[in-house]
Symmetry: C2
């Protein structure tokens, strides 16, 4: 899964190092992508030093500085970059870069994560998504509203005046996986992954919890009952369960006031999942714009590296 | 785990054969318990024929009829006893006994499960709990209200005029297990099982979702944030997660109108779990009576076996 052409040019390596994946992009002094490399050596999976993993991934690329977002900055990561409190701007994040130099002399900067701490609500944390959001703000400086980043741990992020105001995490991706693969419902849902969101069963699941107001915890047993009593096809049931989980997340976000009609809403993510969220929101009468998370992450990392004076890259020369 | 004294008397064997356990009680012609036997050979775990498993468990007991409730009547069980629709009385259940005779000539009756099918709501099913509820109605013939049966798959059952009117299943026990043992929250909760419900953290979890109205899906990530940001003890976090799950179930039941103040409420279950539900409900200002599920199951099976003319047992001679 690694694409690693030998290159001699380049000004910065932008890295997204999450729990399950490691992704590197080499950009030139104009901010254009020259090469990409990727591996499944996420922070939760590596069996060598972080420096060795990093070094192997970027071997053959020029010896330029690297800026890193994601779990690489967690306590279990390469070096811990403590959480910065919200509200936070790109300037706040840049100011809190954790900088060091590798054994072979390469400058590294790790972007800190963000946290929410308030007396009014439970705490929350993110690592990695903040760089995508900086990329979004960089591209749409006037954006005021909520950004949804679907995933294993979905984030709903409020943005105003160029700052990340606060955010809320939902375990939706993990919840779907737990129910579909590890609960007794696994006997009632298919394993194959076709395009779930185009199925009428997906729409039914979304409507049940997000429109009719059936509580998520009261809805999920029906996946089993549908199979036992109505002989529902396990593939339809997989789409239905996906609708319940995504619809449940949207309903919970609405209860928390994060879906109000007078606020802009957009989705940052990968194609299939981002589309499923867009379809679920369309069923509820909300039209939202999609942005590619990988593009935004690279743009955000360049923006932050510039803001920190870590490198000097003109994106639009 | 098997207690199996040699006995020569006895009139009926009452059996609760679930997914993970098999429990047999030998009663005399007056309905009094003479002997008990138990094993972990649940329907989901056996590697011999059902008749062989049954025969070994009751070896040494007299050759009397057996009445069986639980997953033994499912498609994957000994013989399938199809679901009977609600509303259903003990007479309905007795009329739908699945009867047969073992190879060695012993009469067997399997109690059918119950189902809910309605245009107004999703379908639902139960197997085993119906016999406990018959036992409750047998003991409290005038009971009108809701019975909660906490467990892997909790049931909230509406009872009126001696009939099971309808019910709603929640995956709460399984949800707790999935989150505490199989999700990334496992790093934030302890494994040991002390008395969770007596902890202030349990109360906090219940209050968050059932009193303050925080949606369950929005609440669970805070288990992780509490550990990362506030260094909460993993044992407290286990109690907190338990409070979120049980509180989430209660909040969902309330949304569905199953917790209205003008209706009686009681709990049927085993001591620790039933007590946790009682404490959660007490925090919300509801006082509920507890009943022992095992006692009620035996009483219910005797009641049904009598009603079906399967045996003739005078419980109060």
């Amino acid at each position: 899964l690694t694409r690693r052409p030998e290159v001699s040019e380049g000004a910065l390596i932008a890295i997204d190092w999450g729990t399950s994946r490691l992704r590197a992009t080499l950009v030139d002094s104009g901010g254009e992508t020259i090469a990409e490399a990727e591996s499944d050596e996420g922070i939760g999976k590596i069996d060598r030093t972080h420096e060795a993993v990093f070094g192997r991934l970027v071997a053959g690329w020029p010896h330029v500085p690297a800026v890193i977002a994601g779990m690489a900055g967690s306590r279990q990561g390469w070096r811990e970059a403590p959480y910065v409190p919200c509200p936070a701007t790109s300037a706040t994040l840049a100011k809190n870069f954790l900088r060091f130099v590798t054994d072979d002399g390469r400058p590294i900067a790790i972007v800190p994560g963000l946290m929410v701490r308030s007396r009014d609500r439970d705490g929350d944390v993110m690592r990695g998504e903040e760089s995508q959001i900086v990329g979004l703000i960089d591209r749409q400086p006037g954006f005021i509203g909520t950004v949804i980043l679907p995933g294993t741990h979905s984030k709903w992020v409020r943005i105003a005046d160029g700052a990340i105001v606060d955010f809320q995490t939902f375990l939706s991706g993990e919840m779907f996986d737990l129910l579909a693969r590890h609960s007794f419902l696994r006997h009632s849902v298919a394993e194959d992954r076709h395009d779930l969101a185009s199925s009428p069963a997906f729409a039914l699941g979304v409507e049940r919890v997000a429109e009719e107001g059936l509580p998520f915890l009261a809805a999920i047993f029906s996946v089993r009952a549908r199979q036992l009593l109505d002989d529902v096809d396990p593939r339809d049931n997989r789409a239905y369960l996906s609708g319940l989980v995504i619809g449940g997340e949207i309903a919970a976000a609405e209860t928390l006031g994060r879906l109000s009609r007078d606020r802009a809403l957009c989705i940052v993510g990968t194609e299939v999942l981002a589309n499923a969220y867009r379809q679920a929101l369309a069923l509820l009468g909300r039209d939202v714009e999609l942005f590619d998370g990988k593009d935004l992450a690279v743009g955000g990392l360049i923006h932050l590296a510039n803001a920190a004076g870590f490198v000097e890259i003109g994106r639009h020369p």
